[in-house]
Amino acid sequence: MIKIRGLHKSFGALEVLKGIDLHVQPGEVVVIIGPSGSGKSTLLRCINRLEKLTSGQIIVDDYDINDRKTDINLIRTEAGMVFQQFNLFPHMTALKNVTLGPVKVRGIPRREAEALGMELLEKVGLKDKAHVFPDQLSGGQKQRVAIARSLALKPKVMLFDEPTSALDPELVGEVLEVMKTLAKEGMTMVVVSHEMGFAREVADRVIFMDEGVIVEENTPRELFANPRNERTISFLSKVRSPIE
């Protein structure tokens, strides 16, 4: 579903991604962990071309995203993106947030889009908030609307960039629940998150990134129980909460 080969990305003189190779199979859930500044967000942003690659290749669903012939707006609808800060459109109701893509990108009639929108809001448990503006939603609700907004384009892949790290702890669960449901339905997902419980439960693979490279990858069980690389060991010992 996603094939990344030799991906390099620099901001000016700063090389943030230093040769990433990653294949994600259809239906696979990959969780990326790693210290701040290691390039996790940049990697996700390269996948739907919010950042231009410096070199290397990314294939999403058989489309080379750097190929001039590829319609980049199409790729972006194939790979939905969920942001840490939600980035809902504050001047639109929850429902309008969700239907904007289908209407303006896909050209679906408003009626149909609204039916789809209501269906998706129901799926994320927010049918009753359809006509509410974002400033009246809690963080968890905002993020669930944002997920519905991405799903409205019927993407083949969902990219999550620390979707719960801006949330109050008591609101994290509701967002993770939605993500788990998606995973169980067979959605291909790449998730940057330090929610170890989530990774353990739904991830097929956990990737540890540091300083722009993939240091180690394994099943969550293996990676958490027997990390091999020293950097992984030291990172895990830092993020692990005492409860686990």
């Binding site: 942001f83 001047h91 409205a152």
Partner: protein
Amino acid sequence: MAGHFNFKASVIWESIPILLVGIKYTIFITIFGLVIGFCLGAVAGLARTSRNPIFYRMAGFYIESIRGTPLMVQVMFLYFGLPLALNARIPPLAAGIGAIAINSGAYIAEIVRGSIQSIDRGQMEAGRSIGLTHVKTMLYIIWPQAFRRMIPPLGNQFIISLKDTSLLVVIGVGELTRTGQEIIAANFRAFEVWLTVAVMYLVLTMTIAKVLRMLERRLEIR
């Protein structure tokens, strides 16, 4: 007879109907000037947010040259100077509207640029991430939010431009100030007439300010 001032209220009542004709011109010039100025300002402001160096520089040249020169000079250049080069007369009213438009456009450009740049970058990214093009994201997501933020400074510009129209007196457009001047030329009652003119400007600007506050409050509620 120096030092013998007596206030004549009747002058005020007599001049009001004539001044009202001047007010009509003042309002007409302000509104038309600002509508065109807003179009100019929107284009120049957008160009200032663009990555295209040609648009960026051209808009910068326009904004800097207008903001860096007095309106009075712009008006006279437009009305007395430019016709010589073009070999065509510009009617005073058109020159007046044009001057207000070009002048306000430069200030509005800065308002537009500032409002657009004040919108969180995440909004553009979210728009792009659901497959909207850059233009569509601007149109449906950035612009509506930025426009709300433009309203208070645009209102301010409205008031400034309205007062600026009084400078058009130098090219003989029959707006409020010019009308006052003409009345005084006939009756020599400078105190009463300028006082009336001043009060009329004040009523206009205060009305605009009030309408704006109402509009802002309504937008806050949404």
